[in-house]
């Protein structure tokens, strides 16, 4: 028998779960009919998770989920929650996730699809050779020391650009210029340093990827123009995060916060929601370590951008790749909303600042911040723009991806006896991967259609469709 959940429809795609029990605020979620069916099919497990988030101290009305909501451990994926430091608001490592500043960076090339077609095999091999993607895989010619890593955690991509790994103008198009000011490497453990040193400039496995794509459709000419996107143009999408350094930071602070929470009178309905007051020594230490890991992740995508430029050049395609935008979708940041400073947790959600916001690069300011929504490797990804609606309703947040439809085991079963790499090749998509098992698990049909998420986001007014990107080359771990 199905489990019921008490919610009401506020408008077409917006629903409200009224505050009940230990909840301190209402919860709001965005869904289409289709998404609503998926939520019912999982007995509203992810909606129950956002209700759990709403029980945390100092939460600012309301707790939110984006249209790509799905079940996570503790916080749901697609969850957005803001906390007021002046009202005992908390910070929760589980509300950021293990992969701190997992995010995406989109590059544009001054090339058309036909320019790539002639050299796609060369380019695929060059990218696979240049960007380390399997477990333990590193570039032996690009090494950093412990002092370098400290600088990287403090200053992010800016430090790398100063060493020749990128261009000054890249920085302008990274969320917060890739440098969170609260970063404090002194709160990062030796173990996390060790893991970071071995993994800077690596893609990782699972759902992380590098794709060469082309712009397949433009929905908003004006915004696309501002972003420098045109039909048929080649783009590169990089999806990765802070690797083992971020995982280690999260692990250590979840444990610390589990011990600290009762001392601050914080009641936890789920241990993975372990939290401490923002204004406490533990809270400040985590924010310092988390911001350092976030800067590392921005730097990771910066170094991979440098490797990507090398690969394009070696395949005879020039080095004209420009950073369109780089954003985090696992993060916690201080921002001003409704006239007060709050700490916004986004776990599997994208910052989506609207038109006119000074945080949006000048060139894009009239259009709003680019919002990058990766789909699956067989279909498409999307570029959206932040809206006034996202500023008004979701603490300036929007969707971040498609979400899985099949478990990894079910995907493997569905791939049995098939050659997914060859199937993709028949669709005109070249795949280079360290592990065939990863490709099977990540096959297109293992994911929900990202278009469903994007349509709901657009219709709800918390993001505006700008362009669709189709894959040509996929590099996986």
């Amino acid at each position: 028998m199905g489990v019921t959940m008490n919610f009401e429809q506020v408008s077409g795609y917006k629903y409200r779960i009224p505050r009940t029990g230990k909840m301190r605020t209402d919860a709001v979620f965005y869904a289409s009919e289709e998404i609503l069916k998926d939520l019912a099919a999982e007995n509203y497990a992810s909606l129950r998770q956002i209700c759990n988030v709403a029980t945390l101290t100092g939460i600012v009305e309301p707790a939110l989920t984006m249209p790509d909501i799905h079940w996570g451990y503790g916080f749901p994926i697609g969850g957005v929650a803001a906390f007021d430091p002046d009202e005992g608001g908390v910070v929760s490592p589980g509300g950021v996730g293990f992969d701190i500043n997992c995010g995406v960076r989109l590059l544009t090339a001054p090339l058309g699809r036909e320019d790539i077609a002639r050299r796609s095999k060369e380019l695929a091999d060059a990218l696979y050779g240049a960007v380390p993607s399997g477990v333990g895989s590193v570039r032996k010619d690009v090494r950093f020391g412990r002092k370098d890593l400290r600088q990287i955690m403090e200053r992010g991509p800016e430090w790398l650009v100063g060493r020749g790994y990128g261009r000054e103008e890249d920085l302008e198009y990274i969320e917060s210029r890739g440098r969170l000011p609260d970063a404090d490497p002194d709160h990062v453990s030796d173990r996390a340093y060790e893991r970071g040193l071995k993994q800077l400039g690596t893609l990782g496995s699972g759902n992380h990827f590098l794709e060469v794509q082309y712009v397949d459709e433009i929905y908003d000419e004006e915004a696309a123009g501002a972003y420098g996107l045109s039909e048929g143009q080649v783009t590169v999408l990089i999806h990765t995060g802070s690797r083992g350094l971020g995982h280690q930071v999260c692990q250590e602070y979840v444990e610390l916060f589990l011990e600290a929470a009762p001392e601050y009178g914080i009641e936890l309905v789920d241990r993975q929601l372990a939290a401490a007051p923002i204004e406490s020594p533990e809270g400040r230490a985590y924010l310092g370590a988390m911001s350092a890991a976030a800067n590392f992740a921005f730097a990771n995508r910066q170094l991979i951008t440098h490797f990507t430029r090398e690969a394009f050049e070696s395949a005879g395609l020039g080095d004209g790749l420009r950073v369109l935008y780089d954003l985090a979708h696992n993060n916690a940041k201080f921002e001003e909303h409704g006239g007060r400073k709050v700490l916004v947790h986004r776990k599997g959600a994208t910052r989506a600042f609207g038109p006119g916001n000074p945080e949006v690069p000048a060139r894009y300011r009239s259009a709003g911040q680019p919002v990058l929504v990766p789909g699956d490797m067989g279909r498409y990804s999307f570029v959206l723009a932040g809206t006034e609606g996202s500023m008004r309703e979701t603490f300036g947040s929007s969707a971040h991806g498609a979400g899985r439809k099949l478990s990894r085991k079910k995907a493997k079963k569905a791939a049995k006896g098939r050659n997914i790499i060859r199937e993709m090749e028949r669709l005109g998509i070249l795949v280079r991967a360290a592990s065939r098992a990863t490709v099977d698990e990540e096959m297109s049909e293992a994911y929900k259609d990202a278009a469903g998420v994007v349509e709901a986001t657009h219709a709800a007014g918390i993001g505006r469709k700008v362009a669709r990107l189709r894959p040509l080359i996929v590099v996986k771990g």
């Binding site: 999982e42 799905h70 079940w71 996570g72 451990y73 503790g74 994926i77 996730g97 293990f98 992969d99 399997g134 477990v135 333990g136 173990r191 060790e194 893991r195 071995k198 993994q199 990782g204 496995s205 699972g206 083992g244 995982h247 280690q248 999260c250 692990q251 979840v254 444990e255 589990l258 011990e259 789920d270 241990r271 993975q272 372990a274 979400g403 899985r404 439809k405 099949l406 478990s407 990894r408 085991k409 079910k410 360290a434 592990s435 098992a437 990863t438 698990e441 771990g477």
Partner: protein, 136 residues
Amino acid sequence: MLDHTADVGFELEAPTLEALFDAAREGLLEILMQRPPRSGSEERVVELSARDLEALMVRWINELVYLVQTAGFVPARADITVSGQGGKRSLRARLAGEPLDPEAHGWLGEVKSATFHGLCVEAGDGGWRARVILDV
């Protein structure tokens, strides 16, 4: 093996606590690789402690993730002792294994961490049970 859309995990049963922790090692290796080694000549000793058995289980799995994915060492066998009570539980493991060889071991993909969500380690009918969810 638990089979959830977004994450993976395992449910374990063993006659002793030591066997339960060893089963977690085996479960983790099954998630990481298709052909985990059964023996190895390299040795390592791991010593961990935590305030309860559940936190100790999370630490144990995360230590193994670190050993495999960062140190490149696959613990093929473990000789485990669990000690302590109440507010402090400790684990000592003598590990035998070999260097990670992604190709030979049939590497499947990285694990980010063990989580505290839905975690349980408890005594059952004549033995021990555990449930662990991993972020992959």
